[in-house]
Subunit: 107 residues, 2 copies
Amino acid sequence: MDEVFKALADPSRRKLLDELFKSNGKTLGELCEHLDMTRQAVTKHLVILEAANLVATVWRGREKLHYLNPVPLQEIYERWIGKYERHRLRALSDLKKGLEQNKNKKG
Amino acid sequence: MDEVFKALADPSRRKLLDELFKSNGKTLGELCEHLDMTRQAVTKHLVILEAANLVATVWRGREKLHYLNPVPLQEIYERWIGKYERHRLRALSDLKKGLEQNKNKKG
DNA sequence: TTGACATGCAACCTATTGGTTGCATATTGT
DNA sequence: ACAATATGCAACCAATAGGTTGCATGTCAA
C-alpha cells in the first residue's frame, strides 16, 4: 500500500505507466525513448514500480518486457479513495457548517 | 494533480486525512495528539495537504480548524486510476498472453 | 567465436524531504 | 494588563530520492 502511493508520487513513473497503458509489454529500451533521462534512471523507476506491483516483467531472451498491472490501483481506490468519496457530500456539508459556525462566533 | 499525489505519498499525511475523516474540523493541536512528532512537523504536513487542496482551513479565533476535502481524490480516481481500472481485465489478459508468448519462444 | 545489443550492478553527487529547535505573533480568560 | 494558549516563521540537520557515470553480464546474429 505504502509502496504504491510512493510509486505514484513521481511524475516520471506515472508517465511510464501511461506508456504501458498505451502499449503494454514494452522493453526497457522502448520505455527509455520517451523519457529524458538515462537508461539507468529509468531502470530505477521501473524497479520501484515493480516493488509496488504496478508493473510485472517477463524476460524474452535479452529483452525485458514490462506489463502494467492495475490491481494495486483498484485496491487504492477501494481501500482509500473510495472511503472518502463515499462521504464526499457529507464532508462538504460539514465544511459549510464549519464556515457558518465561524461566521457566527465572529459576528 | 502532481501535488495531490505527492501529498498522498507520505504515511503521516494519510494518517492526518484519516483523523479528519474520523472527525472533521480538528484544530492543529488536536491533530498533533495522534502523531509522534513535533507540532511544527505536523504543520508542515498540513501545509502540503492544503497546497494539494486536500484540506481546507478556517480560523476560529486563535484556533485553526482543518476540514477534509475529498474532491481531489475524486479527480485522481476519475482522471487516473479509473483510466487503468476500466481496462483492467484487458491488461491482465495481455499479461497472460505475454507470458504464454514468452513460454513459446523459450520452448 | 565474436562483436553488437539489452540490461544489470554499484559508486557517487545534488536536491528534496521530513524532522528538529528556537523565537515571534496573536488571541483568550482572568 | 498579562499570563497562558494556539499557532506561525526560519534556520538547521540527517536521510532519502532522483539522477549521473562507469563497468559487468548475458544474449543474439553473422
